[in-house]
Each structure stands twice: as C-alpha cells, then as structure tokens.
Amino acid sequence: MRIRVRYFASVKEWIGAKEETLELPEGTTVEGLRRRVLAAHRRLENLDQVLVAVNGSFADLRRVVVEGDEVALFPPVSGG
C-alpha cells in the first residue's frame, strides 16, 4: 500500500523534503513506519523526539496505518 507522509520543521530539514509517498506492507504500524523513515535518514538520531500524527491527531504507536491515511512526522511543538 502507498502512504503519504508529510514532514515538518526540523524533521523536514533533516529529510530534505516536505513529503514522501512510501510503499509499505499491509499491517504496518505507526511505529513501523516511523522506524522505516528514521532508518532511511541517518541524521534523524533522536527517535523519541520525532512525533507522529495520523489524519491530524497524535497517533498511538501500535495503530495500523491503512491506505489513504495521511501520516505526519515532526519534532516536539513550540508554538504559542
């Protein structure tokens, strides 16, 4: 399945792209997707510092992603 992944702030700069479309096996979890992205981009050392949202909400790492989901990876927020 194909999953659209968006990147923001420092994660976007480390990866060098605003988004990618990943080909992933069915049943991939949020944690699996995150590991896959981090493994492909060695500069993303601080694994715990990369947060994941699915369809606009913070995601449980055990959640299974499905085709059509919009996934986003980003650092801890600093707005306000």
Partner: protein
C-alpha cells in the same frame, strides 16, 4: 472562533464579537515576538504550522476549555510566517460570566497550545538560526 493565519489580528475586532448579555468579563492573552533569546538579538522568527492538524487541535482545546471551565466563548488566533520583534503571534480571548473561570480557561488554552498544537518557531539571529525547543510544562 479559531483562526490560523499569516495576517495580523485586531484584538478589538475579536473581543467585540464576544460580548453578549451573559458575559461579565473577557480575559485575553497576547503572545508577541521577543527581540532577544538567550542573550542574542532575534532579527525575526519563522513560524511553521501543520495547518490542517493545528486547526483541528485548536478546536479540540477550545471545546475542552468551554466545557471544563463553563465559559461562554473562546477565541484563538495563531499566526505563522515571518514575524519581527514585538509583532503579534497569538491571541487567546475567553469570555465568561465571571472572571475566575475566564482567567483559568485562558491559562489552560495557552498551556495546551504549547503542549499539543503542531506549530514550530525558528529564531533567526546574526549568529545563525535555530528551531526553538519545546518549552514543556513540567
């Protein structure tokens, strides 16, 4: 009212619309760009937002504040883009019958924005630029 925008806001415009017969007070918080950070002059800041998610999260926080503190209305405006020192970043306004819950709700909304709305600040100084670390709320 929730707004995520590049444009500046008028506090008066937002607050005027919150007046009603049941409102006895309006508390507002205005976040502005500090011109220095850790002893360094900040030329400007860049604010990045994941807009679709930010709007959704702000709406959740607004509803939580209204329900938890029993206030009449909550308005939130958050800017993004390039902002110079002293420019407005954030407006939170809370209207309620009485002041205590308005102060409490306003503080809650600002704290929750810093905790869980996908917005990031980058400071640009003569010595370089860096992303602002999460302030956390320990």
């Amino acid at each position: 009212m929730i707004r995520v925008t590049r444009n500046d806001f008028s506090v008066d415009d937002v607050i005027t619309r919150m007046r009603s017969r049941s409102v006895g007070g309006i508390v507002s918080f205005i976040g502005v760009v500090r011109g220095e950070s850790k002893g360094k002059a900040v030329e400007h800041i860049e604010i990045e937002v994941y807009e679709e998610m930010a709007v959704k999260q702000l709406e959740v926080i607004r509803r939580e504040a209204i329900e938890r503190f029993r206030v009449e209305e909550v308005a939130i405006v958050h800017r993004y883009g390039s902002l110079k020192a002293s420019e407005n970043i954030l407006l939170v306004a809370v209207a309620s019958a009485h002041r205590a819950e308005a102060f409490d709700a306003c503080r809650y909304v600002v704290d929750e924005i810093k905790r869980r709305v996908p917005i990031w600040k980058k400071e640009v100084t003569p010595e370089g630029e860096w992303w602002v670390e999460s302030e956390g709320l320990e």
